[in-house]
Symmetry: C2
Subunit: 246 residues, 2 copies
């Protein structure tokens, strides 16, 4: 399949060096350079993309800034970091289980929490009354020290009032639910879209401008079908993929 030179767009609002940086980042994530552990030499990339070597150097400099590659005079451009995590989506979707042994260290950080009235949209999803109190958690998940998702999660406040504390202590929604007396829950629907990273994404997920985020909006219910959680999670697109197994 895609052999040969994929071209690149000129003068369309995205600088060539950025387009090329994005391509190389994706190629690294896809394991295309695994045999050598190096990116092809600059002149080869320049020819492949049909640009000047200066332009390739700008792209590699940006990737070096991100810590993805490291250029060494006389040796080439070495790959320092290379990661794409897989998230299975099913009735039993669990974040920490989902990562499984794809990462050694897993972390769930609580950035912010608040109690607030439900908006009309949220109330409809959680099947509660508009304006009814909900707990909102802003969380950041990491795997091997790298941020892999930024989530905003809502829970009905009357049923899960202790969620903030429970999550803070465990760093896991599943464990927090169990603490609050909910032994099991099910993923009933997931909506997936993609968009450009916004400012908060750039900061929290440590992305570079122009990066793409996958957005998953998920509704979980208890075993009786009563909604217990609605979450909007944002993932760096070049680090993750979703799989749906039927």
């Amino acid at each position: 399949m895609d052999t040969g030179q994929m071209n690149v767009q000129r003068q369309n609002g995205v600088a060539l060096w950025r387009q090329i940086a994005d391509r190389i980042r994706t190629s690294i994530a896809n394991g295309e350079y695994d045999e050598t552990g190096k990116v092809p030499p600059e002149f080869a990339l320049a020819e492949q993309f049909g640009v000047n070597r200066h332009t390739v150097r700008s792209a590699l400099a940006a990737l070096a800034q991100e810590g993805i590659v490291r250029s060494v005079q006389g040796r080439g451009t070495l790959i320092e970091r290379k990661d794409r995590l897989n998230f299975p989506i099913s009735q039993r979707t669990r974040f920490n289980q989902g990562i499984g042994d794809q990462a050694r260290e897993k972390e769930g950080l609580l950035l912010h929490s608040a109690e607030e009235p439900a908006t009309a949209d949220l109330a409809a999803r959680l099947k509660i009354k508009p304006g009814a109190p909900v707990i909102r958690l802003e969380t950041l998940r990491k795997a091997d020290r790298r941020p892999v998702s930024r989530s905003t999660t809502w829970f009905p406040a009357d049923r899960f009032g202790g969620m903030t504390e429970a999550y803070r202590q465990s760093g896991s929604i599943t464990v927090a639910f169990r603490t609050l007396g909910l032994a099991d829950y099910l993923r009933v629907s997931t909506e997936i879209t993609a968009t450009h990273a916004d400012n908060a994404d750039l900061a929290d997920l440590e992305l570079s401008p122009g990066a793409i985020v996958l957005v998953a909006k998920a509704l979980n219910t208890d075993t009786d079908g009563v909604p217990v959680q609605y979450a909007v999670s944002r993932f760096p697109a070049d680090m993750v993929q979703f799989t749906i197994e039927n």
Copy 2:
């Protein structure tokens, strides 16, 4: 929630006008301007994003080029098209059914077809021998004249030799399968990623450079679990979303 001015990144390889165009396109798709049917005036957008009015005008010009908005002197910038299609993903995922009544006209175009030996990766997915013959179809799907997906699809050639002709006549995989004696099939797995549009995407999906595509890699089997089809489909991210219902 997100009230107030979301900022925009300077000097990072992505032109301001492009970032702003992407934001406005998303806002339109999210129905944020539905009440007036118009985009806010240029001076207001300029203030919101903290840029010069010329820059906003560049963004709007790009959106006008895409046919999304139309500016009229003295009146404002009117929203011409506003669409985000929803694709449910399940065991019974079918493209044409999936769109359902979200579009009036549905079309399936055959861009190219070929018979070729299976690569190692493809053979593993279809559970056939590497190098065994497969039929490859390149198809473009449209809804209401707008391209909504570009797919590369492989079938085992020994079982579905007549696929090219069958698809050409019906414009539907489901119908083509039925013609060839396969009454039913199941979606067993779907992998979803997102990336920047490549040149072929720009041409076939009529996108503008820098656009995002959602990529779905799907495996279908017959009711006995024997793989019958593997497909890689690319969708314009600002026109579609996926939903997984469990």
